[in-house]
Symmetry: C2
Subunit: 325 residues, 2 copies
């Protein structure tokens, strides 16, 4: 069996880790391969280094190197390089880059500078984190540099665009977003293997990633949405909301920016042209109605630890085997 | 008074630190300004980062951040980034880059990438190390990227060129060098202020830096040698040899490569077209004869600590005031 998942950072990475745990501990499913298509709209160049936050969170989480309490970055991290950069007056300082993490960006930037594609770089980084041995393939959604920008009020009656990371990390999504603009996305091509991974999968999963700035961005890569509509695999999504609120992150602020209510049902509406099954938390079950052809199921969605997350993934796979694709 | 010194890494940096100490502790000399022209032939791009070993050793030594026992790199250094780079399989691993040190290279590389010249970058780095407050100006010899390569036997009867750092650091100068080739030096222009600093100085000093791959490279920058010949300032050099051997580094191997005996007198011969005074260790006094117009003096040259080094600098300045320029 082959599973393809579209993922953002923390939520997507934790879900896939739980999925892998479920597959590895279920007789007959160990050989299942998983392709993860990662959002790269969050990517940013800081200090001349190319940083891919979602790819890195996936690498660290799936490779066992993540700072678990934080959900991103490396365990046992230090910040000596950034302290020195601050002493040199290098800006910005609002994005925390740990020493171990910086090595990833240095390696990536060097390889990109030597002409490797982001896909090739990601494959090399994944090797160090043991993803192939886990039957995990990690693909960036595109090799084209794309960057999500957030249009906010400029305080003088007009508007200005800031990088997604500045809005998300520096301002904690507290500046009302008018809209998101993904620079380069219209001219981007899906990375090698991405469309095939969707078309040839036995199951496609949407982890509980941000529906606007993670999965929504991946869906904007030319060809991805068509591949989802056309795949013969069942497509099952896991709601990123519990009681209408994101467990972490700022999905509610993102949904508000695009004029979509922060409800599990409204999120399903963003996917209804290709979604077959939609798993919501029991807290949202009563208010989430079947939407077009999307069947709704409910089960606890709090990813409190790996086994709990594995049960959510198991539930999603059960749904996949029950819905008509 | 204004002093200009041409310097390589450890020896040059320690000498200038001693010089500054002498000036700062001598009534009437506190206001003396010092311009240091640094060798950049050692520069190398590692992991996509631009590393300027001599400039950095000067910054760290003069700014109080150097690892004193080692003579280069930062005190209280760690190597977490490089450990990760090794885990990613990034080469080379023979050049030790500490975490604090890497921040310097990241800052420099970012600024260079934004279009700043190496001079401008060096000025920014020097500000963080408090050089202006010490009346110290640090100039790279050129803003043109130049790189010293070492031609060695290829083991099959032919020859090959390797980067100076690979020869110096990886092979500890143990591969017999046939010659040195400085890529880009013929087309390099002296950095802004370099030629003026030589021409307008009241005293020009040659610290006990490597005469071949440090001072020799600076002398190869178009215009520098002419400026030294033409300056009205006395030019006084301090021998890098004691008893015909370098106190540290591999000056003897470098001299051998260019067919010059490792003696204080032979080194003076490399400078005799512009040198006015030559300070050698008492151990070399008997064998170092006046060479053309170069007057020879002797005094202890072991830079065992800052006060001892200050006394060497003081001696060099006394010589400068006694020789005809």
């Amino acid at each position: 069996m082959h599973i393809t998942a579209l993922a953002g950072g923390v939520g997507g990475a934790r879900f896939v880790r739980g999925l892998r745990h479920h597959l590895d501990t279920t007789p007959g499913l160990e050989d299942t391969t998983v392709t993860v298509v990662a959002n790269t709209g969050d990517d940013i160049t800081l200090f001349g280094l190319r940083v891919c936050p979602d790819v890195d969170t996936l690498l660290y989480t799936l490779g066992g190197g993540v700072h678990d309490g934080q959900g991103w970055g490396r365990a046992d991290e230090s910040h000596r390089v950034q302290g020195e950069l601050a002493a040199y007056g290098v800006q910005p300082q609002w994005f925390a880059l740990g020493d171990l993490d910086i090595a990833t960006h240095v390696a990536r930037s060097q390889w990109l500078g030597q002409g490797a594609t982001l896909s090739e770089v990601t494959t090399r980084l994944a090797a160090r984190w043991g993803l192939p041995e886990q039957r995990l393939e990690l693909l960036p959604m595109t090799d084209t540099p794309v960057e999500t920008h957030v249009v906010v009020d400029d305080g003088e009656g007009g508007e200005r665009a800031i990088h997604f990371q500045e809005w998300w990390v520096r301002h904690q999504a507290s500046l009302p977003a008018r809209r998101f603009v993904v620079a380069g996305l219209d001219r981007a091509a899906a990375a090698p293997g991405v469309l095939e991974a969707v078309r040839r999968a036995d199951v496609v999963l949407l982890p509980p990633s941000n529906p606007v700035v993670s999965i929504g961005i991946i869906l904007g890569v030319p060809g991805v949405r068509d591949a989802l509509r056309g795949t013969s695999a069942p497509v099952v999504g896991v709601s990123p909301l519990i009681s209408g609120r994101p467990v972490r992150g700022h999905a509610d602020a993102c949904l508000e920016a695009i004029g979509v209510p922060a409800t599990a049902g409204a999120v399903a509406g963003l996917y209804e042209d290709f979604l077959d099954g939609w798993l919501v938390d029991p807290a949202d079950a009563a208010t989430t109605l079947r939407r077009g052809r999307v069947e709704v199921f409910d089960g606890p969605l709090l990813m409190s630890d790996v086994p709990a997350t594995a049960r959510i993934a198991e539930h999603a796979l059960r749904i996949a085997s029950s819905v008509p694709a």
